[in-house]
Amino acid sequence: MNIEELKKIREKVQKEMNLRSGEKPIKVVVGMGTCGIAAGARPVMAAIKEHLAQQQAENVSVVQSGCAGFCEQEPLVDVFRPGEKKVTYGKVSPDKARRIVAEHVIGGKPVSEFIFAQEP
Protein backbone atom coordinates (compact mmCIF):
# COMPACT_ATOMS: atom_id res chain seq x y z
CA MET A 1 0.00 0.00 0.00
CA ASN A 2 1.33 3.41 -1.01
CA ILE A 3 1.40 5.33 2.31
CA GLU A 4 2.80 8.55 0.80
CA GLU A 5 -0.06 8.83 -1.66
CA LEU A 6 -2.58 8.31 1.16
CA LYS A 7 -1.00 11.16 3.13
CA LYS A 8 -1.35 13.43 0.07
CA ILE A 9 -5.02 12.41 -0.25
CA ARG A 10 -5.59 13.31 3.42
CA GLU A 11 -4.13 16.79 2.94
CA LYS A 12 -6.05 17.46 -0.26
CA VAL A 13 -9.41 16.13 0.97
CA GLN A 14 -9.15 17.81 4.39
CA LYS A 15 -8.82 21.19 2.70
CA GLU A 16 -11.92 20.50 0.58
CA MET A 17 -13.87 19.11 3.55
CA ASN A 18 -14.07 22.53 5.17
CA LEU A 19 -16.20 23.64 2.23
CA ARG A 20 -18.65 20.73 2.45
CA SER A 21 -21.71 20.31 4.60
CA GLY A 22 -22.05 16.99 6.44
CA GLU A 23 -25.66 16.32 5.46
CA LYS A 24 -26.48 13.58 2.95
CA PRO A 25 -30.24 13.69 2.47
CA ILE A 26 -30.31 11.72 -0.81
CA LYS A 27 -29.72 7.96 -0.71
CA VAL A 28 -28.86 5.57 -3.54
CA VAL A 29 -29.04 1.82 -2.82
CA VAL A 30 -27.41 -0.78 -5.06
CA GLY A 31 -28.55 -4.42 -4.78
CA MET A 32 -25.47 -6.48 -3.95
CA GLY A 33 -26.89 -9.96 -3.49
CA THR A 34 -25.42 -12.91 -5.40
CA CYS A 35 -27.85 -12.18 -8.25
CA GLY A 36 -26.95 -8.48 -8.34
CA ILE A 37 -23.21 -9.17 -8.32
CA ALA A 38 -23.52 -11.78 -11.07
CA ALA A 39 -25.57 -9.33 -13.16
CA GLY A 40 -22.99 -6.53 -12.83
CA ALA A 41 -23.83 -4.52 -9.69
CA ARG A 42 -20.17 -3.85 -8.87
CA PRO A 43 -19.30 -1.70 -11.92
CA VAL A 44 -22.70 0.00 -11.50
CA MET A 45 -21.85 1.04 -7.95
CA ALA A 46 -18.36 2.16 -9.00
CA ALA A 47 -19.87 4.24 -11.83
CA ILE A 48 -22.37 5.88 -9.44
CA LYS A 49 -19.63 6.80 -6.95
CA GLU A 50 -17.35 8.12 -9.70
CA HIS A 51 -20.07 10.15 -11.42
CA LEU A 52 -21.20 11.70 -8.11
CA ALA A 53 -17.58 12.66 -7.42
CA GLN A 54 -17.18 14.18 -10.90
CA GLN A 55 -20.38 16.18 -10.42
CA GLN A 56 -19.22 17.16 -6.90
CA ALA A 57 -22.53 15.96 -5.46
CA GLU A 58 -21.64 15.79 -1.77
CA ASN A 59 -25.17 15.36 -0.40
CA VAL A 60 -25.67 11.76 -1.58
CA SER A 61 -24.89 8.54 0.29
CA VAL A 62 -24.42 5.34 -1.70
CA VAL A 63 -25.08 2.09 0.14
CA GLN A 64 -25.66 -1.56 -0.71
CA SER A 65 -28.48 -3.97 0.05
CA GLY A 66 -29.12 -7.70 -0.36
CA CYS A 67 -31.33 -9.52 -2.85
CA ALA A 68 -34.78 -7.92 -3.17
CA GLY A 69 -36.34 -10.99 -4.80
CA PHE A 70 -36.47 -9.61 -8.37
CA CYS A 71 -33.29 -11.32 -9.51
CA GLU A 72 -34.18 -11.15 -13.22
CA GLN A 73 -34.24 -7.33 -12.95
CA GLU A 74 -30.76 -7.02 -11.41
CA PRO A 75 -28.72 -4.87 -11.12
CA LEU A 76 -31.38 -2.93 -9.17
CA VAL A 77 -30.83 0.63 -7.97
CA ASP A 78 -33.16 2.51 -5.59
CA VAL A 79 -33.15 6.30 -5.41
CA PHE A 80 -34.53 8.01 -2.31
CA ARG A 81 -34.93 11.78 -2.49
CA PRO A 82 -36.30 13.64 0.53
CA GLY A 83 -40.04 14.26 0.27
CA GLU A 84 -40.33 12.09 -2.85
CA LYS A 85 -41.36 8.47 -3.40
CA LYS A 86 -38.77 5.73 -3.85
CA VAL A 87 -37.92 4.92 -7.45
CA THR A 88 -36.41 1.53 -8.35
CA TYR A 89 -34.45 1.12 -11.57
CA GLY A 90 -33.93 -2.32 -13.12
CA LYS A 91 -31.28 -3.88 -15.38
CA VAL A 92 -28.99 -0.93 -14.69
CA SER A 93 -25.68 -0.74 -16.57
CA PRO A 94 -22.84 1.69 -15.74
CA ASP A 95 -24.03 3.96 -18.61
CA LYS A 96 -27.62 3.91 -17.37
CA ALA A 97 -26.34 4.56 -13.84
CA ARG A 98 -24.54 7.71 -14.98
CA ARG A 99 -27.78 9.00 -16.56
CA ILE A 100 -29.75 8.16 -13.40
CA VAL A 101 -27.23 10.10 -11.32
CA ALA A 102 -27.23 13.13 -13.63
CA GLU A 103 -30.96 13.35 -14.35
CA HIS A 104 -32.61 11.97 -11.21
CA VAL A 105 -30.22 11.95 -8.24
CA ILE A 106 -28.83 15.39 -9.06
CA GLY A 107 -31.43 16.78 -11.47
CA GLY A 108 -34.52 15.57 -9.60
CA LYS A 109 -36.28 14.10 -12.66
CA PRO A 110 -36.65 10.28 -12.75
CA VAL A 111 -35.44 8.54 -15.92
CA SER A 112 -38.77 6.95 -16.86
CA GLU A 113 -37.49 4.47 -19.47
CA PHE A 114 -35.26 2.67 -16.90
CA ILE A 115 -37.80 2.48 -14.06
CA PHE A 116 -38.73 -1.01 -12.83
CA ALA A 117 -41.00 0.04 -9.96
CA GLN A 118 -42.18 3.18 -8.24
CA GLU A 119 -43.62 3.56 -4.77
CA PRO A 120 -47.40 4.10 -5.11
Binding site: L6, I9, R10, Q14, M45, V62
Partner: protein, 191 residues
Protein backbone atom coordinates in the same frame (compact mmCIF):
# COMPACT_ATOMS: atom_id res chain seq x y z
CA UNK B 1 -19.78 -15.70 -11.41
CA UNK B 2 -17.36 -14.56 -14.08
CA UNK B 3 -14.22 -14.32 -11.94
CA UNK B 4 -12.77 -14.78 -8.46
CA UNK B 5 -13.10 -11.12 -7.51
CA UNK B 6 -16.88 -11.41 -7.92
CA UNK B 7 -16.94 -14.51 -5.73
CA UNK B 8 -15.00 -12.54 -3.11
CA UNK B 9 -17.50 -9.66 -3.23
CA UNK B 10 -20.32 -12.18 -2.85
CA UNK B 11 -18.81 -14.21 0.00
CA UNK B 12 -17.96 -11.01 1.90
CA UNK B 13 -21.67 -10.07 1.73
CA UNK B 14 -22.31 -13.08 4.01
CA UNK B 15 -19.71 -11.72 6.45
CA UNK B 16 -21.34 -8.28 6.42
CA UNK B 17 -24.81 -9.77 6.90
CA UNK B 18 -23.41 -11.70 9.89
CA UNK B 19 -22.50 -8.40 11.56
CA UNK B 20 -18.73 -8.65 11.08
CA UNK B 21 -16.68 -5.58 11.90
CA UNK B 22 -13.50 -7.01 10.37
CA UNK B 23 -13.13 -9.08 7.22
CA UNK B 24 -9.82 -10.50 6.05
CA UNK B 25 -9.40 -11.57 2.43
CA UNK B 26 -6.33 -13.59 1.53
CA UNK B 27 -5.33 -14.92 -1.86
CA UNK B 28 -2.20 -17.02 -1.97
CA UNK B 29 -0.71 -18.22 -5.22
CA UNK B 30 1.67 -21.13 -4.55
CA UNK B 31 3.18 -21.50 -7.99
CA UNK B 32 5.52 -24.49 -7.37
CA UNK B 33 2.53 -26.46 -6.03
CA UNK B 34 0.24 -25.18 -8.82
CA UNK B 35 -2.20 -23.98 -6.16
CA UNK B 36 -4.34 -20.89 -5.61
CA UNK B 37 -6.00 -20.53 -2.22
CA UNK B 38 -8.70 -17.97 -1.48
CA UNK B 39 -9.65 -17.30 2.14
CA UNK B 40 -12.32 -15.00 3.59
CA UNK B 41 -12.26 -14.74 7.37
CA UNK B 42 -14.65 -12.68 9.48
CA UNK B 43 -15.50 -11.96 13.10
CA UNK B 44 -19.27 -12.17 12.59
CA UNK B 45 -21.80 -14.16 14.55
CA UNK B 46 -20.81 -17.49 12.98
CA UNK B 47 -22.89 -20.35 11.65
CA UNK B 48 -24.92 -22.61 13.98
CA UNK B 49 -23.32 -26.05 14.34
CA UNK B 50 -26.33 -27.90 12.95
CA UNK B 51 -26.33 -25.73 9.81
CA UNK B 52 -22.60 -25.93 9.08
CA UNK B 53 -22.59 -29.27 7.19
CA UNK B 54 -25.29 -27.95 4.84
CA UNK B 55 -24.07 -24.41 4.06
CA UNK B 56 -23.04 -25.25 0.50
CA UNK B 57 -26.48 -26.65 -0.28
CA UNK B 58 -28.09 -24.02 -2.56
CA UNK B 59 -31.44 -24.58 -0.87
CA UNK B 60 -30.09 -23.70 2.57
CA UNK B 61 -29.93 -20.11 3.78
CA UNK B 62 -30.14 -18.22 7.06
CA UNK B 63 -32.47 -15.68 5.47
CA UNK B 64 -36.15 -15.66 6.30
CA UNK B 65 -37.23 -14.01 3.06
CA UNK B 66 -36.65 -16.91 0.68
CA UNK B 67 -35.16 -20.37 0.60
CA UNK B 68 -32.14 -20.20 -1.66
CA UNK B 69 -28.56 -19.18 -0.87
CA UNK B 70 -26.27 -19.49 -3.86
CA UNK B 71 -23.02 -17.74 -2.88
CA UNK B 72 -21.16 -20.59 -1.20
CA UNK B 73 -22.52 -23.26 -3.55
CA UNK B 74 -21.33 -21.30 -6.60
CA UNK B 75 -17.84 -20.90 -5.10
CA UNK B 76 -17.71 -24.63 -4.22
CA UNK B 77 -18.67 -25.50 -7.79
CA UNK B 78 -16.02 -23.11 -9.18
CA UNK B 79 -13.33 -24.68 -6.96
CA UNK B 80 -14.31 -28.31 -7.59
CA UNK B 81 -14.39 -27.96 -11.36
CA UNK B 82 -10.67 -27.27 -11.28
CA UNK B 83 -9.53 -30.02 -8.90
CA UNK B 84 -9.94 -27.88 -5.80
CA UNK B 85 -12.44 -27.72 -2.99
CA UNK B 86 -14.20 -25.59 -0.42
CA UNK B 87 -14.09 -25.72 3.35
CA UNK B 88 -16.03 -23.66 5.86
CA UNK B 89 -14.93 -23.29 9.49
CA UNK B 90 -17.17 -21.49 11.91
CA UNK B 91 -17.74 -20.95 15.58
CA UNK B 92 -20.85 -19.26 16.86
CA UNK B 93 -20.08 -15.84 18.33
CA UNK B 94 -16.51 -15.86 16.97
CA UNK B 95 -16.72 -15.84 13.19
CA UNK B 96 -16.43 -17.81 10.00
CA UNK B 97 -13.59 -18.69 7.66
CA UNK B 98 -14.24 -19.82 4.08
CA UNK B 99 -11.31 -21.44 2.25
CA UNK B 100 -11.50 -22.28 -1.45
CA UNK B 101 -8.61 -23.95 -3.25
CA UNK B 102 -8.05 -24.14 -6.99
CA UNK B 103 -5.46 -25.76 -9.23
CA UNK B 104 -3.70 -22.59 -10.33
CA UNK B 105 -3.18 -23.53 -13.96
CA UNK B 106 -6.33 -25.52 -14.49
CA UNK B 107 -8.03 -24.63 -17.78
CA UNK B 108 -11.31 -23.95 -15.98
CA UNK B 109 -9.87 -21.86 -13.15
CA UNK B 110 -11.75 -18.57 -13.08
CA UNK B 111 -9.54 -15.53 -13.72
CA UNK B 112 -8.74 -13.24 -10.78
CA UNK B 113 -10.84 -10.35 -12.10
CA UNK B 114 -10.85 -6.81 -10.79
CA UNK B 115 -9.90 -7.09 -7.11
CA UNK B 116 -9.38 -3.30 -7.01
CA UNK B 117 -13.01 -2.66 -7.87
CA UNK B 118 -14.21 -5.35 -5.44
CA UNK B 119 -12.27 -3.89 -2.50
CA UNK B 120 -13.06 -0.32 -3.58
CA UNK B 121 -16.80 -0.98 -3.65
CA UNK B 122 -16.72 -2.94 -0.37
CA UNK B 123 -14.86 -0.17 1.44
CA UNK B 124 -16.89 2.67 -0.09
CA UNK B 125 -20.23 1.03 0.74
CA UNK B 126 -19.17 -0.09 4.24
CA UNK B 127 -16.89 2.63 5.60
CA UNK B 128 -17.67 1.61 9.19
CA UNK B 129 -16.19 -1.91 8.75
CA UNK B 130 -12.55 -2.91 8.38
CA UNK B 131 -11.09 -4.91 5.52
CA UNK B 132 -7.71 -6.48 5.07
CA UNK B 133 -6.58 -7.75 1.67
CA UNK B 134 -3.40 -9.78 1.43
CA UNK B 135 -2.27 -11.22 -1.89
CA UNK B 136 0.78 -13.45 -1.96
CA UNK B 137 2.59 -14.87 -4.94
CA UNK B 138 5.14 -17.28 -3.48
CA UNK B 139 7.26 -14.98 -1.24
CA UNK B 140 6.04 -11.64 -2.67
CA UNK B 141 3.21 -9.95 -0.79
CA UNK B 142 0.80 -7.08 -1.40
CA UNK B 143 -1.19 -5.80 1.60
CA UNK B 144 -4.01 -3.28 1.98
CA UNK B 145 -5.46 -2.67 5.45
CA UNK B 146 -8.24 -0.18 6.17
CA UNK B 147 -7.16 0.07 9.83
CA UNK B 148 -3.83 1.48 8.67
CA UNK B 149 -5.64 3.67 6.11
CA UNK B 150 -7.85 5.14 8.86
CA UNK B 151 -4.79 6.06 10.92
CA UNK B 152 -3.24 7.92 8.00
CA UNK B 153 -6.46 9.51 6.68
CA UNK B 154 -7.53 10.92 10.06
CA UNK B 155 -10.83 12.77 9.64
CA UNK B 156 -11.15 11.80 5.97
CA UNK B 157 -13.74 9.01 5.73
CA UNK B 158 -13.15 5.80 3.80
CA UNK B 159 -16.27 6.53 1.73
CA UNK B 160 -14.60 9.56 0.15
CA UNK B 161 -14.45 9.05 -3.65
CA UNK B 162 -10.71 9.77 -3.73
CA UNK B 163 -10.25 6.78 -1.42
CA UNK B 164 -12.17 4.49 -3.80
CA UNK B 165 -9.94 5.70 -6.61
CA UNK B 166 -6.83 5.15 -4.46
CA UNK B 167 -7.87 1.59 -3.54
CA UNK B 168 -8.46 0.62 -7.18
CA UNK B 169 -5.16 2.03 -8.40
CA UNK B 170 -3.12 0.79 -5.44
CA UNK B 171 -4.38 -2.78 -5.81
CA UNK B 172 -3.88 -2.78 -9.57
CA UNK B 173 -0.29 -1.57 -9.23
CA UNK B 174 0.42 -3.71 -6.18
CA UNK B 175 -0.73 -6.90 -7.87
CA UNK B 176 1.25 -6.10 -10.98
CA UNK B 177 4.35 -5.57 -8.84
CA UNK B 178 4.13 -9.00 -7.19
CA UNK B 179 3.30 -10.69 -10.49
CA UNK B 180 -0.21 -11.82 -9.57
CA UNK B 181 -1.64 -13.98 -12.32
CA UNK B 182 -5.02 -13.15 -13.72
CA UNK B 183 -5.61 -16.11 -16.02
CA UNK B 184 -4.37 -19.70 -15.78
CA UNK B 185 -1.04 -20.03 -17.60
CA UNK B 186 -2.55 -22.35 -20.20
CA UNK B 187 -4.92 -19.58 -21.35
CA UNK B 188 -2.10 -17.03 -21.48
CA UNK B 189 -0.24 -19.44 -23.79
CA UNK B 190 -3.27 -19.93 -26.01
CA UNK B 191 -3.76 -16.16 -26.30
Amino acid sequence: MRDLSMHVLDIVQNSLAAGSTEVEIRIHEHLPEDLLVLEVKDNGRGIPKEMLPRVTDPFITSRQTREVGLGLSLLKEAAERCSGGLEVYSEEGRGTTVVASFRHDHFDRAPLGDMGETLGVLIAANPDRDFLYEHRVDDRTYLLDTRQMRQILGSVGLEDPTVLDFVRRDIEMGLKKIGAASFPKILEVLK
